[in-house]
Each structure stands twice: as structure tokens, then as C-alpha cells.
Symmetry: C2
Subunit: 414 residues, 2 copies
DNA sequence: TCTAATTTTTTCGAGCCTCGAAAAAATACT
DNA sequence: AGTATTTTTTCGAGGCTCGAAAAAATTAGA
């Protein structure tokens, strides 16, 4: 806000701008970069020749002689995959995975692992996370010069500076400062991210046409999560990762939620809630710990087949989601929505009630025009988001002139 | 996002930074400005001597010999009140007011006017607004060189670029492009702002200790409005002024709201809703057009006196506000709240139920620590917010080097 | 009263950065 | 082969911020 711009900030920012333009556009020419950034050709030329000399960018071999125009052909600039690498870790229910991603965004190595997160003691959970990171970093096959950053995505609530997991449905443990632990152990800057936020980041990269400045990613799973991008920026709470959409109140004093409160959206739309309603159990009954994807698929099949409690359960889920989205839209105006996760495959059962509910809300004035997209597989999305987020940090910080390029130096950057 | 920083942007931004530092701090010395902006003393010296020469800043006469230290005494810098002026217009139910504010933020001239906004035809409403502006601008007593900007605050929904009123409860008219009209008529850049947003802006200036980066201003009046500041910036919707807190859904299918929908928070907490419940009328009954402040005060008095339907009505209002705030806090985390408007004087009747409700929500984990403040008089707050907003625009744009200083040039700036 | 110490503000040269114009480079068209 | 066209680089000019040193303005103490 009230901090001035130094003269040397200028070059740093414009360098970051060029790198980000290349990351976004694929293989833009210098001329294209000049156009998108608004800087002069001379400046782009100077910056890009610096970046090439430093091994951050490379002129792409003219794979395609695209230029049908006459004149000197444009030469595309690409990220040098070997300039750096990042490590992503995704921790979700009974599942841990890690991957090394090169500077151009390609997966170099990957490891997946099942573990019982719900019953695992605190130390062991932490040890497993550290171990998978160490194995990836020490992998002899790894042909990457330096891992410049670690991003760990977790299902649950993280703190606002992305240093710690505060609470998670996948474990009874709370307040684990993963970022500090990783930095202390490996000397690599690390952040802890919310899984739904990373889904949103990934969607932005995958479909920039649809998901640009304002959109919503909703995870339909055992619980309900949300990632929100507003005005081109990831929206987070002031103290936490925020966006606890699943725990907005749908019906005051209503159904019992996994979080112990009553009437949350999740208590109607989470898998356990759909399961509970489909079985015609009381709304006061304790949520089950887990419902398998197969069971949910069977439920959806039955709901499609004939009218009955299963169909009714999906209807209630749609209603809860619809009123919740309507309330959200009252605050932020309508925006495109992506439904992610296994239950997004049953969105056909949810959609009618959802649209009906949303039409009854302030944000639903043009409810017909609100569009939904489904993506049943959340894991690749989360990993992709982590990778892009970590790479963005690298773009902005590591390659600023004057910044030390060696990893191993702890930087407490949010 | 992806727009580079030009070399000449640098000076412009740093000039704006210095001006804003002076506006914020009152009479800071050059040294203080250097400290808060992070720029060097030489730079601050150069910029401030430019600004003084241009008549934007002035060295303040050492009103107080504050310096108990030895050494050369600091010399405070102040805004030159004559550098420019802005015009604020506030349009609310049956009431129109306008004021000229000098560059230092002091009210120079003011006019207030009653009119029947609810029944007034479109043309007349517009004509009244134009007329009050013309009278202020042509006031022969006005000793101000140039009015550089107009800010019009309106109760209701405005569009996101602040050009038009989209909808308002004070008139059946919709979609009035006040900003364009004012600019065409008077040749002065104008914006149309939401009243609650301006309340929030004003609170930020009035009590920067309490209302800094994240807070909520709620207008308790005939309807329910909200202004939201997040991460130090006014939060608006993507297409509209957003923050339609009053129309988040409290009880799906519940009480009839003035907006025609059912179960909105406003349908329980707006004056007409409290009135309706206190009179033990059906929740389906049509909202009354207006309840006088005197009637509401009488209602509150009766509620304080003895248990009964009046007390119950305030209790329902508190519950609706509490669950709504809880849902909001689930998204953005808890933040200080200011209750503004005539009904804020009855907050003692609302608070217990509000706190009880909020404690049952995800955002209410530490509900005891959430603090509320009341301010019964909204009008001065709205005007003050308008003034500060308009002045901020002037700071950033008019006094940038290279920008034309003459008013009368239309600038389509959001 | 006078001098030294201290703090604020200004001055000045150095070093960068971006920009525009012109030159150089690389290709298509004739 | 020569010309037109488009991209990229080169180069000098102008501006900006910075650090160091100087100047200015005051207090503390002898």
C-alpha cells in the first residue's frame, strides 16, 4: 500500500513480468511480450537476453515454421526446464503423493503412497511427509540441478501466510507447522496450501478462457470445499485459507455436520450427508467416517434408476449447494463454477434442485446463465495447482537480480 | 497483472505515495515520509519540493514546537486546501444532500433537501440531482479554484465500474447512469458509489486503529446493507457494488423480503421486518414502505421494558444477523464489525441473540472476541467516505505529472 | 555567549533503467 | 538478385533514485 517503488524494483518487476508472460503464453516472441506487457521492444530485448544468458529462458528451436508472413521470422522464447525445479506434496485422506516438476512445468518424477491418516499419530504423520520429500530429493535418477521450492497441499484449513495446517478432516491432529519443518529440514522455502485453492489455481492455467478473473471451484467429496478466484487473485481469509463454503449455514439448527455444528451446507451435501439421507437415517445421527467411491456410485445409480430416498438425498444436496451459492453470489456476484471430485460425476442428480434453489436467491437473478463444469478427478488438479503456485514463487523471487540463486537459504516469504 | 512498469510510472507512483502519506498522517515531516514509504531522503526531498512548487503541498507553520529533541527541527508537510476541491452527493430515502470539500478534507459548503424519492418520476429524480450539483458549483460564495471530481453515494446497487445506479430501494427507477450524466453536464469526472461502501471508507479514516485492513460495516435501517474492507481494500462484487449481505438466505423459503424473495436476512432484521414481527403479523405479509425512526424507538423502548413480541422481534433480527455474519466469517474469517444506522441504537436488544447465533457457526469459534461498535448516524459517515474516496482519486490522477490538471476533461476512469 | 553535538533537509554526482530512432538481421515476394 | 517487410538489436538521451556529503537549524553544555 504505502510502500514506494525503488529504482531497482523496476528491473526486478519487469523481469518477473517477462518470465510470467513466457510461462503464460507458451512460446511468445519478443514482440508479443512487448505487446502484452506494454514495455518497449528495447527493454524486452535487454531483459530477455539477460535471462537467456542466465539460463532461465531459451530460444525455442523453430519446431514449426509458423510464419506465413514475410519479414524476419519471430523467434519464440521458452522456459529452460533445467533452470530450476519444484517439489509438490499432496496430503489427502489416506493418501500421500509427491512429485518433482521442472521449471517448464513438466513432471519429472512422482511417488504415491497409501497411509492411514485418520488414526496415525502426529509424529508418524509428520515423519511420513518428511520421508517422501527426502526420497524425492535424494532420488539418484533425479537430473535436476536444484529444487527451489516446496508446496504442500492439504485438505483442510491452513493459516493465511501458508505456513501451517491449522485443522484437517483427514487427521485429528491440528496446528502442524509443515512449512517451518520442511524449511528447517531441507533448507528449501516451503508453503502449505489448501487443496481447493490449488484446484482453482490449476483451473486458471488449464482453461484460461473460462476461468480467468472470477470463478469458483467446489470440491464435492466426503466434505465440501471451495477455492475462489476474484479479480484474478486467489481469495483467502484474513487469518486462514478461508473459503469454508461447506460450513456456511444452510438451515439454522439443522442437520448434524462432521464439524460438530448444525445446518452447515456440508451436512446436506457432503458424501456422508447424502449417504445418511439416502439411508433415511436421522439428520441427528453421527456422520460416518468414510463412504467408498464405489458405494457412492451405487447410490447414484439407484437414484438415477427410480424415485426414492436416494434421489431425494441428492435433491437435498443440490438445494443446500444452491442456496449456499446464492448467498455467495449475493456477496460476489455470479461467476462460473467448476464442480470437482468424485461426486461431480453425480452432478446430473444434483443440478436440478441446485438451479431451482439458486433461482430463489438474490444472486440467482440470471440463474439460467450460470454455467457449471464438472471434473471428477481432483488429485491431478491439486498437484498441478501446487506446481504452478510454487513455480510462480520461483519466477518472482529466485530469479530477481540481486537475489541469491542458491537453494538452501531459508527465506520466510509468505 | 501482466502490465509492465514504465520508467515514468515510477515518478507518478511515488508522487502519489507521498501525497497519500501526507493525507494519512496529517502533518508528517519529510523524514517520516521517507520512513513510511521506504524511499530515500533525497527522493522525498525532490518530490516534496516539486509538490510544494506546484501548490499541492505546503509547509505547515510550526503551530506546535513539538521537537523536544535537539537538532534541526522537523518541518511538517500539509495538503494545500486550495489545491482542488471535490463535490459529494448523497441520495437516500426522501433525502438529497451535497457538499463541497476542499483538498484538505474540510467541508466548504453544504446543502440538504427533502424530496419524495419513492414516487418521483425518473426525469425529476435526475433533474433534482443535477440541480443540486449545479447550485453548489455555481455558488458565488464558493471560493474554490476547481472542483476536480464528483462522488455520488446512493442507497442501493451500483455497477462495478461505479458509473451507474442499477437498483435502489429508494426509487422504483433502475439503471440510471448518473456518472455519465454528471460528466456530460459538468465536465467533471464522476463516480457512483454504494452508501455502505462509503461508510466503510469513512470508518477507515476515522478509526484507523480499529478499522484497518479487515472489517465490516453493517447498515441497520429499513433495509440491511454492508460495506466490506478486506486486506486493506474495499471489497466489491465482480459486476456490481456487491456485498448484498441483507439478501443472503437466512431461512430457505422463510419470511417475505422487500426484494420479493423469501428468507433473506433483511426479511428478519430490516426495520420493516422487526416491525412486522413485533406486530405479530404473518411473515408472508407485505413489507410496509417505511417505518419512522420514532416508531422504531418506541418499539425498542417497549422491548426493553418487558418481554413480549417486540423483544422477540429483535431477537429474531439478532439471530438472522448472527447466522449471516457466521456464514460470512466462514468465508473471510472474523473481523471487527461496525453497526451503523438508527437501529444500531437498539443493538443492545439485538446483541444477545446475535452472539448466540454466531457461536453456532463455523466462523464463530471465538465469538466472544468478535467486537461490535455502534454508530447511529450514517449520513455524515457516508458523506465523509465519499469525500475521501473522491480525494483519493484526485491524489492519484490529477496530480500525476503529465496528467492534465484542468477539470472539464472527461476521463473514463473506473 | 559561544562552541560542539545532533538532527533534518538539500545538493550533487553516479549508476541504472526505459525509451525512441536507427541500424541490422532474416525472411518472402517479384 | 533486388526490394519490401517484419523482427530484433544497438546506441544515445533523458529521467529517476540512491548514497555521501554538505548545509541548515536547533539544543546542550562549557
Amino acid at each position: 500500500m504505502s510502500v514506494g517503488i525503488r529504482h531497482d524494483d523496476l528491473r526486478r518487476r519487469n523481469r518477473a513480468m517477462v518470465i510470467s508472460a513466457v510461462r503464460r503464453a507458451g512460446q511468445p516472441s519478443r514482440t508479443e511480450i512487448a505487446a502484452t506487457t506494454g514495455l518497449s521492444h528495447s527493454t524486452i530485448s535487454a531483459i530477455s537476453s539477460d535471462l537467456i544468458r542466465e539460463g532461465i529462458l531459451a530460444e525455442s528451436k523453430a519446431s514449426e515454421p509458423v510464419s506465413l508472413k514475410r519479414g524476419r521470422p519471430q523467434v519464440g522464447l521458452a522456459l529452460n526446464p533445467e533452470a530450476a525445479a519444484v517439489l509438490t506434496v499432496v496430503l489427502s485422506l489416506n493418501f500421500l503423493s509427491a512429485a518433482i516438476i521442472d521449471y517448464a512445468g513438466q513432471v519429472v518424477a512422482e511417488e504415491q503412497r497409501r497411509l492411514d491418516t485418520l488414526t496415525m499419530p502426529r509424529d508418524e504423520l509428520i515423519r511420513e511427509c518428511m520421508a517422501i520429500v527426502r526420497r524425492r530429493l535424494e532420488d539418484p535418477d533425479l537430473d535436476v540441478r536444484s529444487v527451489a521450492r516446496i508446496a504442500l497441499a492439504i485438505q483442510g484449513i491452513t493459516d493465511s501466510p501458508a505456513r501451517a495446517m491449522l485443522w484437517s478432516p483427514i487427521t485429528p491432529q491440528t496446528d502442524i507447522a509443515f512449512a517451518d519443518m520442511l524449511e528447517d529440514e531441507f533448507g528449501i522455502p516451503a508453503t502449505v496450501e489448501n487443496d481447493c485453492n490449488m484446484m482453482a489455481v490449476a483451473l486458471r492455467w488449464r482453461k484460461p478462457d473460462r476461468y480467468r478473473d472470477d470463478f469458483i471451484a467446489i470440491l464435492l467429496s466426503h466434505g465440501i470445499g471451495m477455492g475462489l478466484v476474484l479479480k484474478g487473485e486467489l481469495f483467502t481469509g484474513t487469518h486462514s485459507s478461508g473459503g469454508e463454503f461447506g460450513h456456511m449455514i444452510h438451515r439454522p439448527g439443522g442437520a448434524l455436520c462432521r464439524c460438530g455444528r448444525r445446518g452447515c451446507i456440508e451436512a446436506y451435501a457432503g458424501n456422508y450427508a447424502i449417504w445418511r439421507n439416502a439411508r433415511q437415517m436421522s439428520e441427528d445421527s453421527e456422520p460416518v467416517a468414510d463412504v467408498s467411491d464405489a458405494d457412492m456410485r451405487a447410490l447414484a445409480a439407484r437414484a438415477r434408476e427410480k424415485d426414492g430416498p436416494e434421489r431425494e438425498a441428492y435433491c437435498k444436496a443440490g438445494e443446500a449447494l444452491g442456496f449456499g451459492l446464492g448467498s455467495l453470489f449475493a456477496l460476489i456476484d455470479p461467476a462460473p463454477v467448476a464442480m470437482v471430485g468424485a461426486s461431480a460425476a453425480a452432478f446430473d442428480l444434483i443440478e436440478p434442485a441446485l438451479r431451482k434453489a439458486i433461482a430463489q436467491t438474490a444472486g440467482g437473478q440470471h440463474s439460467g446463465s450460470i454455467s457449471f463444469d464438472t471434473e471428477p478427478n481432483e488429485l491431478p488438479l491439486i498437484r498441478e495447482g501446487c506446481a504452478m503456485r510454487a513455480l510462480s514463487f520461483v519466477d518472482q523471487e529466485i530469479f530477481a537480480p540481486g537475489a541469491q540463486m542458491r537453494p538452501g537459504v531459508r527465506k520466510n516469504v509468505a
